[in-house]
Amino acid sequence: MNEDRKSILEMLAAGKITADEAERLIAALEKEPRSAAAQNTDSAAKPKPKYLRVMVEATEGHSGEGPTKVNVRVPMQLLRAGVRLTSLIPAQAREQINVAMREHGVNFDVGQLKPENLEELIDQLNELTVDVDQKDAQVRVFCE
């Protein structure tokens, strides 16, 4: 019997919680490891993306050379490095950036941007494809 279950039973014995509440708490405890295990198997099954692919297909180039295709493959490592570069921004400049972003409606602190945040974003990008269809251009962003 683990510690959490034992403490729930002790609270029940002491009359601090009712039998229904104890049952609900134990059920919640049983669910937790299962969902954690399910998450682990999901992340293990899907390989982490290595590249961010940006594909642009424009029907007419800016200087009129006909249809233009741009295909850029950016390593995730480079994105991580980009995030690390934010640490090179001096504190005063960082504050100026924050103020400018706030003026444009983005309430965001550049100083809080860390590689760990990017990892979460990359995990989410694994399942995401951004398609932008316009009259003169198509943009596709995805991870691979």
Partner: protein, 86 residues
């Protein structure tokens, strides 16, 4: 590990073009004196901006390492250009 090779491919609409294999190792060696010249400015920047030097060096190093695997392709009716860093 920092990238060692860049492959530049240029092709025109007739299919003619060239492949250029650029050994980046040589480029890095050539850039080394420039890096030495920039170093005092970099240190000065770190001191004025109150940026940790170790963190700054680490960020620059990871930027170089991150370039490996980068690929850029641009293609239009006139020509196609591709750059791959390996």
């Amino acid at each position: 590990m920092i990238p060692c090779l860049a492959v530049l491919r240029v092709r025109n609409r007739r299919g003619r073009g060239f492949h250029l294999w650029i050994p980046l190792v040589l480029v890095w060696i050539l850039l080394l004196p420039v890096a030495v010249l920039i170093l005092p400015l970099f240190l000065l920047y770190c001191l004025i901006g109150r940026v940790r030097i170790a963190r700054a060096i680490n960020a620059c190093q990871s930027l170089f390492r991150g370039l490996k695997g980068m690929q850029i392709e641009v293609e239009n009716r006139v020509c196609s250009v591709s750059l791959r860093i390996a």
